[in-house]
């Protein structure tokens, strides 16, 4: 929490508690409702400060960097697996070259399918890279929240949106909304 904001919130909370103490010693019979409401507010401010304080930068950063590392490890592992699969496919293809024609054709077709399917690593890698970027963005925002509780009526600074070519780097789209190769072909032809 930044010093000015922390100080402002701390001052306001301290002031509220002082008002509550001063009201309690009054002899007015109407004070109880007001004290109850103010105490409710004070308790909630205390709880909020404790919860935000629990999101200390060190703990938050560790959680995010650990999660990011795990995701990057998935990319490494899937690349390793894809390469082993292709090692095997290439070995089969070599054997296919020595097989009789029908068997060779069947083996080559199977190997082609393996090569095509191995592209999962590229697609999943790009999706994971998107998740990592989202986590990094979330980490930054959480850091800002911890660093400075937004004052009442205040607005957080919106994240800077990518522009130009950078805005076009969307990565793989969800299957439900992505253009298929047929869509792409039709679009491409329409641009001729």
């Amino acid at each position: 929490m930044s010093a000015p904001c922390a100080s402002r919130l701390g001052d306001a909370h301290g002031y509220l508690d002082r008002v509550i103490r001063e009201l309690r010693v009054l002899q007015s019979p109407q004070k109880d409702t007001l004290v109850g409401v103010l105490q409710y507010l004070s308790d909630h401010i205390r709880l909020m400060r404790e919860e935000i304080g629990a999101l200390r930068p060190g703990r938050g950063a560790q959680l995010f960097s650990s999660t990011t590392d795990e995701l990057e490890e998935i990319v490494t592992e899937t690349a390793r697996a894809a390469n082993r699969i292709m090692d095997a496919a290439e070995a089969i293809e070599t054997v296919a070259a020595t097989a009789e024609p029908a068997a060779a054709a069947a083996l080559t077709e199977a190997v082609t399918n393996i090569y095509e399917a191995s592209s999962f690593q590229d697609i999943t890698g790009q999706r994971i890279a998107k998740v990592v970027r989202a986590l990094q963005s979330l980490e930054e925002k959480l850091g800002s929240l911890i660093g400075a509780v937004v004052p009442p009526g205040g607005e957080a600074t919106p994240a800077e949106e990518p522009k130009g070519d950078a805005a076009r780097l969307n990565g793989p789209q969800l299957e439900t909304i992505a253009n298929s190769q047929t869509d792409i072909d039709a679009l491409f032809a329409s641009l001729e």
Partner: protein, 126 residues
């Protein structure tokens, strides 16, 4: 399709480079060079221009779109067919690539037949 043509493949995922190389070999295209990013690819191609470029889009520091623009802006390379093979399937991406002079566009994941057909189409008489 000239089986002895030189094909230059560009992708930051080595797995994808290997897949492309294998699929091209199955099409009897064995004269293949590769690079992991657009900048390296561009400088390699300047030294020895290929007959066909097959490039991913989403790479750093030079993206496939930037590589395409560099290629189309270079007198030595601008005539070379350029196929974009990418997971970027948004309509505006295809339009941007087309405007930059891409010869054809393949969306990942793709199959061997799509690759064959697109290569054939860029060499087909207009």
């Amino acid at each position: 399709m000239n089986k002895s043509m030189r094909v230059f493949i560009v992708d930051d995922y080595t797995t994808m480079l290997r897949i492309l190389r294998n699929l091209l070999r199955q099409l009897d295209l064995t004269n293949v060079e590769e690079a992991n990013d657009g900048d390296t690819a561009y400088h390699m191609m300047l030294k020895s221009p290929p007959d066909l470029i097959i490039s991913d889009w989403n790479m750093a520091p030079v993206t496939g779109l930037e590589l395409l623009r560099k290629v189309r802006g270079d007198a030595k390379l601008r005539h070379i067919p350029f196929i974009m093979v990418t997971a970027e399937s948004k309509t505006e991406n295809v339009i941007a690539a087309k405007q930059a002079g891409v010869s054809n566009y393949i969306v990942k994941p793709f199959n061997a037949e799509t690759l064959r057909a697109k290569i054939a189409s860029v060499f087909a008489p207009a």
